[in-house]
């Protein structure tokens, strides 16, 4: 079972209210009041558990506007898992009868009834699988595309398949049997619903004898790895983001770059891949190996210090989310790069909507272009 808020009580006592988590909190930087910072949210969590405040819609909004970036955990001198506590408090509120933001209801219903967050016909996953033509019908390695890439960015999804196929990597796909990983539900605190989805997926993986899952989506990767382990204990399944696979394939000489890409770029660490899973070097290795590519980190805001794109709260709190994206883009622009590259289907649109001059690419587009298997797009919303 996922941890509940009461389990965090001793962590709350450890909090010294030092406030290191306030300055770097993306949502507080927009919403300004202390109650929208990690410190403020933690105070609210503690007072909620002590019964000094009631579960209310107002409280929910202060907790649900957290962008889930986990920057607070990184800044905390007492190593408190602040984000996890905020997530548990969201679940606590739902348990006490305070619903999640109403804008999220359709998305959660889509997940529960239509097997994907966007509510699109699942048969499109079969079309995607057919287009990708995975090397195996049955393999112990599963390419899990995720809802966003499958439905919103199918061209990038196809590119992922082409990269892996060209590198001779063996994997299978699930077609319309792939559903939501459940992460969007867990993130907003719908724990029982998440458990239901996760259990169904985990049973399927066991039936199919899956030993390894790879995914281009950081949220799916994090959910299938950490959240499933939290729910079911040791799963026996290795879960990796595709950039980790590309890095490995490059080292083994199976993935080869042929085309020069003479542009100056930087990498935007997705929160779920970086701070949540500590995957920092593989994407950089993959980019630094591209011939002609001039790579540098975003000044100050890189790796565990990276800003957040705000994408995780786009459904519930669009204005705040867009402002967070703009803050992130402003930090990227200080580096004067031609393009910013990310590896996440939330960061990708968030940065595209916020950019003026800087091109935005998904890392798969860059890898495919460097391999000479696909031309690089314009880097702007088309």
């Amino acid at each position: 079972m996922v941890k509940i808020l009461e389990d965090s009580k001793s962590e709350m006592i450890v909090c010294n209210l030092a406030g290191y988590c306030t300055v770097e909190c993306p949502s507080r930087n927009i919403l300004n009041f202390s109650s929208y910072s990690a410190r403020g949210r933690l105070v609210l969590c503690e007072l909620l558990l002590r019964g000094r405040i009631e579960p209310t819609i107002e409280l929910r909004d202060r907790l649900q506007t957290c962008t889930t970036c986990r920057r607070c955990n990184e800044t905390c001198p007492s190593d408190i898992e602040q984000y996890e506590m905020i997530e548990r408090a969201r679940a606590y509120l739902i348990e006490k009868g305070v619903p999640p933001p109403e804008q999220f209801i359709p998305a959660s219903e889509n997940i529960m009834k239509r097997d994907n967050v966007l509510g699109i016909d699942q048969s499109q996953r079969n079309d995607l699988m057919k287009a990708i033509n995975p090397p195996s019908d049955k393999s112990d390695t599963l390419l899990w595309m995720g809802c966003m890439f499958s439905f919103r960015y199918p061209e990038i999804a196809k590119t992922v398949g082409t990269i892996l196929n060209t590198a001779g990597y063996d994997y299978m796909m699930l077609g319309d049997e792939e559903t939501c990983c459940g992460d969007p539900l867990k993130m907003i605190g719908m724990y029982p619903e998440f458990e239901e989805i996760a259990k169904r997926n985990f049973e399927l993986f066991k039936d199919l004898g899956i030993k390894r899952i790879i995914s281009p989506c950081p949220m799916c990767t994090k959910a299938l790895k950490d959240s499933y382990e939290e729910s079911f204990g040791e799963t026996g399944i290795e879960v990796q983001h595709v950039v980790q696979v590309y890095d490995q394939l490059l080292q083994e000489g199976k993935l080869k770059y042929k085309t020069e890409l003479p542009i100056s770029v930087t990498y935007f660490d997705p929160c779920h891949l970086g701070r949540h899973m500590k995957v920092y070097d593989p994407p950089r290795n993959v980019l630094r190996a591209v011939p002609g590519l001039k790579y540098a980190d975003i000044p100050t805001y890189n790796r565990e210090n990276n800003w957040c794109c705000g994408g995780a709260i786009r459904i519930g709190y669009v204005d705040t989310s867009v402002s967070v994206s703009e803050d992130a883009m402003a930090k990227i622009e200080k580096g004067g790069f031609e393009a910013v590259i990310t590896a996440c289907p939330q960061c990708y649109p968030s940065l595209q909507f916020a950019t003026f001059d800087t091109k935005v690419y998904d890392i798969n587009e860059i890898v495919a272009a460097a391999m000479g298997i696909k031309e690089l797009g314009s880097g702007f919303v088309e």
Binding site: I13, A18, S34, S35, D79
Partner: protein, 500 residues
């Protein structure tokens, strides 16, 4: 005034997006004082007593003038707030009122390296200012433990300092001029851009360290100094705390002034080592060491810094050092960062699985004594703690005699909290006898206010008269620094009676 009326009035001044009267926002502002938070668990009668009525996000001086006039007319207290990293209850809205958050006033208005000053708004982050000064080869050196989050307005309000105060000074030493909105709504400018002035009474220093009790600072002119380019650090372990203290005062006695020199006592050594990677750990029990001196020297060249350090080591050699360890620049950055974080991270020492051993307290003593009196201070405070059955950790800026005491007790309850506060009072009396101060850098705020008369005697009466002259309606941060009244909650004798 009714909530809606207050909201409407404040919204007219600040815009609705910059005002909140929502309970879930307000309680976060009450709940962010640690000592209050813990006391409220023991003393439920104080729950929800100190809620602000509203919080506003100020964007400019004109809004603040309007606010002050409104507050004065309606007798509503105002509590200015910057980074909110103060430790002595400076921000507790003791008579409720309006929290004036100035974090949006965060512009650096001018950097003039030729004339050696900067002009900033009060919400500028300390670390951002130093980042902007870096290309000029300048810095603003006071380096409080909260340097990642504190803002210049709060540093001025508390006269903040930290590990570099001995060599470089405290915030007050750098304040050249201030713009202040007074409680009557008038705006004054005091001081200016020059590095010195002997013209008139030095009003600017009246506002430095005044904790928002005399007005709201809206602009600050600071002196900046050239930044030394090289630093080296070393840690020296001693068999006893006393040896470490004696060695430190002998270093100063020999005319050597390190950039920083920290005393890390036995419990603090354990706390720091719990956070440091193996190769950087301070010498500890297994090395026959109980206490350490963490020393940093700096200069324009590595040679200068090293020469200073060699002279220090020569002096220390006479005082039974057991083991020393030097750090590379990169290692040293981490060690000093951990040192800065240790005060807050120390709480984890008391959490499971060690909860039956001790509980980290919320009180961080901030006494300062003449440095040659530190050994005496350690002896005396240890005795006082024995009497009250408290454990004590020593960590602090021994180079200026400022020692932070971390209390810990075996059983977290009302009685222990009361004992702790009583010990603190007894220590205050002892420290003043040694020629010291009850708060060297954290300020008196709320929690030290009942101890101020011990240190200041008749001077406190003059301070009260000044407060009354400037703020006759007592709207500016009431209940702080004993300038108007001492709130009930401060006195530990009100918390728990021995016979209970």
């Amino acid at each position: 005034m009714e909530k809606d009326e207050l909201y409407n009035n404040l919204s007219e001044i600040f815009g609705p997006e910059n005002v909140t009267v929502t309970f879930e926002d307000l309680i976060a502002y009450e709940g962010d004082d640690n000592r209050l938070r813990v006391l409220q668990v023991y003393l439920p009668e104080y729950q929800e007593k100190f809620l602000p009525n509203a919080v506003v996000l100020a964007e400019n001086k004109e809004q603040i003038v309007e606010l002050v006039n409104f507050a004065n007319k309606n007798n509503i207290p105002l509590i200015p707030r910057a980074g909110a990293s103060s430790l002595h209850g400076q921000l507790v809205p003791i008579k409720n009122g309006i929290i004036v958050d100035i974090t949006k006033m965060n512009k650096i208005l001018e950097i003039n390296n030729k004339a050696r000053y900067v002009i900033v708004q009060p919400g500028v982050l300390y670390k951002e200012l130093n980042k902007e000064l870096e290309p000029y080869g300048y810095w603003f050196p006071p380096d409080p433990g909260s340097s990642d989050i504190c803002r210049i307005g709060g540093m001025v309000g508390n006269n903040a300092s930290g590990v570099r105060a001995c060599k470089y000074g405290v915030t007050a030493d750098f304040v050249l001029g201030l713009e202040v909105v007074l409680p009557n709504g008038k705006v004054i400018r005091t001081g200016g851009k020059t590095l010195k002035s002997s013209s008139g009474l030095n009003l600017k220093h009246l506002f430095v360290g005044s904790e928002g009790t005399l007005g709201i600072i809206t602009e600050i002119i600071l002196r900046i100094d050239p930044k030394p380019s090289q630093e080296i650090s070393i840690v020296i372990g001693f068999q006893s705390l006393e040896d470490a203290c004696t060695a430190a005062s002998e270093i100063m006695g020999a005319g050597l002034i390190p950039a920083s020199m920290e005393l890390v006592g036995p419990m603090a050594t354990m706390a720091l080592n719990a956070l440091l990677p193996e190769e950087l750990k301070l010498p500890e029990k297994t090395d026959n060491v109980t206490s350490n001196l963490l020393i940093r020297t700096d200069g324009d060249s590595e040679r200068n810094a090293k020469e200073d350090m060699d002279r220090i080591i020569n002096v220390v050699d006479k005082f039974n050092p057991v083991k020393n360890k030097s750090y590379t620049q990169e290692e040293s950055d981490l060690v000093w960062k951990v040192r800065e974080d240790s005060t807050v991270a120390g709480r984890r020492m008391g959490t499971p699985p060690r909860e039956h051993y001790m509980t980290g307290s919320d009180v961080i003593g901030d006494f300062g004594v003449p440095i040659d009196q530190v050994p005496e201070f350690v002896k005396g405070t240890t005795e006082i703690c024995k009497k009250y059955r408290l454990l004590l950790s020593y960590i602090g800026h021994i180079s200026d005699g400022n020692i932070h005491l971390g209390f810990a007790y075996r059983r977290p309850d009302k009685r222990s909290a009361r004992n702790e506060a009583l010990a603190e009072r007894e220590m205050a009396e002892f420290v003043v006898k040694l020629g010291g101060t009850i708060s060297a850098e954290h300020g008196a705020g709320l929690w030290m206010s009942h101890l101020l008369s011990i240190e200041h005697g008749e001077s406190l009466e003059l301070m009260k008269a000044i407060k009354n002259l400037i703020d006759p309606n007592d709207i500016m941060n009431p209940g702080k620094m004993a300038l108007d009244f001492i709130p009930d909650i401060v006195d530990p004798l009100n918390w728990y009676k021995e016979e209970e």
